[in-house]
């Protein structure tokens, strides 16, 4: 049923595209169209399991490493669910972070602290805050949903030799830390190649570069390296995915506040 509705909406969208190109699109329409296509191409992966490292670097070029495992579950017509288990630093080993991202309502988040043996809710107002002290904010890591932003197509441009659409997306949520993002989406596969983040005073804050795209299940592209550079503080974080597998058989039961304590 859901599949069918997606198919229908895609057909409608395609019709819309044709009619628009015939009459000339507004930049907003073209931006939305690109974002919709980007999301459409990433539907149906079901679930994934990843080993990842975050390498944090300060302006003094000192480095430190965080190790995590991420279980993700695709939720149709809403944001995905994810469970992040911390392995390093050692004194937070076993801490588990559960997040339900939503397209239109605030995300829900809980954290399990093994030393306290308790699950704590985390307010969604912090979505602009840093994840594990890195340069990635919560909102940078939550799943991409079309409804989270309004769009505007800016221009075409090449990034590292790849032809891209450049679209601006303005967050809908007032608790976002950004006034706008500028996305470079490649024309061939609708993958984000680069994102510029503008802070609340509309100054360039960070740039995300997405590298080493790999194809999974012959359909889904995932970057194995994401580099986030903070231009204002000189800090940066590399988010490196080591192992990534899809359709590992995870279900809603694995993403449950009550079972968070048993997450391993």
């Amino acid at each position: 049923m859901k599949r069918a509705s997606i198919a229908i909406s895609q057909v409608l969208l395609a019709l819309l595209m044709i009619s628009n190109s015939a009459y000339g699109q507004t930049p907003e329409q073209k931006g939305l169209e690109i974002a919709t296509e980007r999301k459409a191409r990433d539907i149906g992966w079901q679930d994934s399991y990843a080993d990842a490292s975050m390498i944090l670097r300060n302006a003094q070029q000192q480095e430190t490493i965080r190790k995590i495992r991420i279980k993700s579950l695709e939720i149709n017509n809403d944001g995905d669910k994810s469970l992040t288990i911390f392995d390093r630093p050692r004194d937070v080993k076993g801490t588990a972070f559960l997040s339900f991202s939503h397209a239109t309502t605030p995300d829900e988040q809980w954290i399990y602290l093994p030393a306290l043996k308790r699950v704590k809710r985390i307010s969604s107002r912090n979505k602009s805050g840093p994840f594990m002290g890195s340069e990635f904010a919560f909102e940078d890591l939550s799943s991409f949903e079309v409804e989270k932003y309004t769009y505007r197509y800016l221009r075409d441009e090449k990034v590292n030799g790849v032809d891209c659409f450049v679209i601006e997306s303005d967050p809908v949520d007032k608790y976002s830390g950004y006034t706008r993002q500028v996305n470079w989406i490649d024309k061939a596969h609708y993958r984000a190649q680069k994102v510029d983040f503008y802070d609340r005073k509309n100054a360039l804050l960070k740039t995300l570069t997405l590298l080493n795209y790999q194809l999974y299940l012959d359909q889904y592209w995932r970057p194995l390296k994401m580099v986030m550079v903070n231009h204002q503080t000189g800090k940066s974080t590399d988010f490196v995915t080591h192992n990534l597998s899809f359709k590992t058989g995870l279900t809603e039961k694995d993403f449950n506040k009550a079972t968070l304590k048993r997450a391993k």
């Binding site: 480095e63 430190t64 050692r90 801490t95 030393a115 704590k120 912090n126 805050g129 594990m132 002290g133």
Partner: protein, 776 residues
């Protein structure tokens, strides 16, 4: 040789003019390379240990350069609907400040509390539309009991609040960035002032003040601008007036003004070619060069006018004057330049620049006054009317009085010198940047208000490095951090201590249902780490813990706000704190740094270097005097009148202020080079008379007659020049100008009253022979 060159200048005046002017033009083009640096870091060498430690800390933790808005309701109470609403709105809008990365106030303070099983982390005042009595009470209760806030973001009386805006300033030490950096400071400062002005309209019953590093840098920029806009024109007018009064000749005045003008623009242009930049110290190079260059011109012109009045032709008079003055002007210019060159001993780069540029300017002025000046005088029409016999009579009076009373004068001088030496021991070094600005400046008024109502403005950051990943979370380390913070708070110098250990205690309490009994450190590493993780994950954009913890939690930064004290107290406090760590937490490496600490250290270090510099200046200049006066004895005699003025000057200073800052550290070597001129002129004339067979007394009278008036006029010019500098509201410049002026006046008094008496005592032998000759 000399004659040939003189002839060339006089017979080919136009050519000389063109040659000199082409040199001026080529030099001036270099001015395009000049740029202004308005940041306080210009006072520190790149490898200054305190600066290095500070910048390292800024990179490991976050940059904490700030601009602060102080809000004072006239009602004397922050805790009312209106004031809280104002703070909340202003805090939100302050995030729009250019280059800001963080805004802290009592309203966006991330208050934590327990709610059932959850940890709530929330702005203390989330919504300004729902402020009622109950909320006001809650906010008042929480703020006044929160160690993180009291005396930092709110006064302990609850009558004044502070909004602290952290900004990321561009690094001004990279030349390409300097202009942007200075511009950024002005832009941020103006933005915030405009913002508070709009609030002042909406909330007329509140006063606003601005402090912080941004406003300190801004004050450096503003005061430099004010110096350029007011002191340079004032100096220029003063000089024109003096020249007119002394020379009574339009042509002579115009020529002198032209020499001064071309000398200054050439100096600044060459500064550009050599890669110098302008700063609070070097913007006054024109004023100083102007002051010193006048003397050269006055000597040349007054001799020429004298020759003209004696009936010489114009070209003869010019030739005669230049020939007569070349050596003395060269010697006096060289000694003055040497005095300024010894500023190279300074540890403060902009003082080194001031020395080098002024020395360059002095030598250019010398060159121009023996080339361009005679050429100009030759080309311009001259009218002669000179008569200063009146002044000479007065000076003769002094001369006779001095030689008659030398037996009383000498002991009096000795007493004055000893008293001055005694008083000058009360001088102490004090370099506190906020005190560099006088009470008329907005910045100083703001910092004074802050000190009186909230806390001092000076901070010291202590970075505690464990060198172990997650080392800060270890219970034993946390205990050490807590004890250190407790020790710091107990020190009399301290207003506020911001430490991560307080956060840990608060979280532990929150995690135990807000039970005050649990307001203590967590007892295991895991617990501490996970509290912190939970807290960090709950903080919104910009309000993270990067300012207190490094990325791998191996180090923490404790920020201490100190009362506005002297630099000596700062360094002593730093020493005690470091000793505490080595005695009580030997596993921790500690670094201390802050702008206040940098100034405190450089002030002391610079004073030591400048004493060496002054000694070197004394040795070189004395050797030069021996050479110029061609007499070891005269060289030795000159030592006293060269040194006494500084002794008396610093004695007077001890009574006037007793505070020695960076600006004053250079006065010793600088004035030595200037006042030596008086001695040279006086002694050389005295010597001349002596050689011609006059008695000591007669020779003194001769010296008075011949150079007394010239010394008097140059002293007037120099005193006025440095007094103009003393009007700067930037104290480094003002104090330097004032003390220099005092010493220059003292030098003349010493040369008129002490030196003759001293000569009468020392030169007795010759007196006897003289008497014998007379008897024979």
């Amino acid at each position: 040789m000399k004659a040939l060159w003189l002839k060339a200048i006089i017979s080919h005046s136009w050519l000389t003019l063109i040659l000199v002017l082409s040199f001026v033009i080529v030099s001036v083009i270099g001015a395009k390379n000049l740029y202004f640096r308005g940041d306080y870091k210009v006072f520190f060498e790149r490898d200054n240990p305190q600066l290095v430690a500070f910048e390292k800390m800024q990179k490991i933790f976050s940059n904490n350069d700030n601009a602060a808005i102080i809000i004072a309701p006239k009602s004397g109470d922050i805790f009312n609907q209106k004031s809280l609403k104002l703070i909340k709105q202003l805090t939100d809008e302050a995030w729009q400040t250019p280059l800001s990365s963080r805004v802290d106030s009592i309203t966006n303070y991330q208050h934590t509390w327990a709610e059932e099983d959850d940890l709530i982390v929330e702005d203390l005042l989330l919504d300004e539309t729902s402020i009622d009595e109950q909320l006001i009470d809650r906010i008042a209760r929480i703020t006044i009991s929160e160690p993180n806030l009291v005396k930092r973001l709110i006064s302990d009386q609850g009558d004044v609040a502070v909004i602290n805006i952290t900004v990321q300033l561009p690094d001004a030490s990279i030349p390409e960035n300097a202009a942007t950096a200075a511009q950024a400071v002005v832009e941020i400062a103006d933005y915030i002032v405009a913002l508070t002005d709009s609030y002042k309209e909406k909330y007329p019953d509140h006063n606003f003040y601005h402090t912080g590093v941004v406003y300190m840098n801004n004050a450096f920029i503003t005061e430099s601008k004010n110096d350029v806009m007011t002191l340079v024109p004032a100096m220029f007018l003063a000089i024109v007036a003096i020249l007119w009064l002394m020379l009574r000749s339009i042509a002579a005045t115009i020529s002198t003004v032209l020499i001064i003008f071309t000398a200054i623009i050439s100096t600044m242009g060459l500064a550009g070619w050599f890669g110098f930049f302008l700063s609070t110290a070097t913007v006054n190079v024109p004023t100083v060069v102007m002051t010193l260059a006048v003397a050269d011109c006055v000597h040349v012109i007054s001799t020429m006018l004298l020759a003209l009045s004696q009936g010489k032709s114009k070209s003869e008079a010019i030739g005669y004057s230049v020939e007569q003055n070349l050596t003395p002007i060269f010697i006096t210019s060289a000694t003055t330049a040497i005095g300024f060159l010894t500023l190279n001993f300074s540890n403060v780069p902009v003082i080194v620049d001031l020395g080098n540029l002024t020395a360059l300017g002095i030598m250019i002025a010398f060159l121009f006054s023996v080339t361009l000046l005679p050429a100009l005088l030759n080309l311009l029409p001259l009218k002669v009317k000179i008569n200063n016999s009146n002044n000479k009579t007065k000076l003769n009076g002094i001369a006779y009085w001095v030689t008659r009373n030398h037996k009383k004068l000498l002991p009096t001088s000795v007493i004055i010198v000893i008293a001055s030496l005694y008083f000058s021991t009360f001088n102490h070094i004090n370099d506190v940047p906020t005190e560099y600005f006088d009470q008329s400046t907005d910045f100083r008024q703001a910092t004074d208000f802050q000190q009186a109502n909230v806390s001092g403005m000076s901070t010291i950051d202590f970075a505690l490095y464990t060198e172990v990943e997650s080392g800060i979370n270890s219970p034993s380390t946390l205990k050490q951090i807590q004890s250190f913070a407790t020790w710091l708070s107990a020190q009399s110098e301290v207003d506020h201590v911001a430490t991560i250990s307080d956060t840990f205690k608060r979280l532990n309490k929150n995690m135990h249902g807000d039970d005050q009994a649990y307001y203590q450190l967590p007892d295991s590493q895991e617990l501490a780490a996970q509290y912190l993780l939970l807290y960090e994950m709950s903080l919104p954009y910009g309000l993270d813990l990067n300012n207190q913890l490094d990325i791998d939690k191996s180090a923490t930064r404790i920020t201490v706000i100190l009362k506005n004290l002297g630099s000596k107290e700062f360094t002593e406090f730093e020493q005690r704190a470091k000793q505490w760590i080595s005695a009580n937490a030997p596993n921790i490496t500690v670094d201390a740094a802050s702008p206040a600490l940098m100034f405190a250290h450089v002030g002391e270090k610079n004073m030591k270097s400048m004493l060496v510099g002054a000694l070197v200046a004394l040795i070189i200049i004395s050797c030069l005097l021996v050479f110029a006066l061609k007499s070891w004895k005269m060289g030795a005699i000159s030592l006293l009148p060269n040194l006494i003025p500084a002794a008396i000057g610093f004695g007077i200073w001890a009574i006037y202020s007793a505070e020695i800052n960076m600006g004053l550290s250079v006065v010793l070597s600088m004035t030595l080079g200037i006042i030596v001129d008086d001695t040279v002129h006086f002694l050389s004339k005295y010597q001349l008379a002596k050689k011609l067979g006059s008695s000591t007394e007669q020779s003194i009278h001769y010296a008075f007659n011949n150079v007394g008036y010239a010394l008097w006029t140059t002293t007037v010019v120099l005193t006025i020049g440095f007094s103009v500098l003393a009007m700067s509201s930037f104290r480094l410049n003002a104090d330097m100008g004032l003390l220099t002026a005092i010493i220059i006046v003292t030098a003349l008094i010493v040369d008129f009253f002490f030196l003759p008496a001293f000569l009468m005592l020392l030169d007795k032998s010759k007196n006897k022979t003289q008497l014998e000759i007379n008897r024979a």
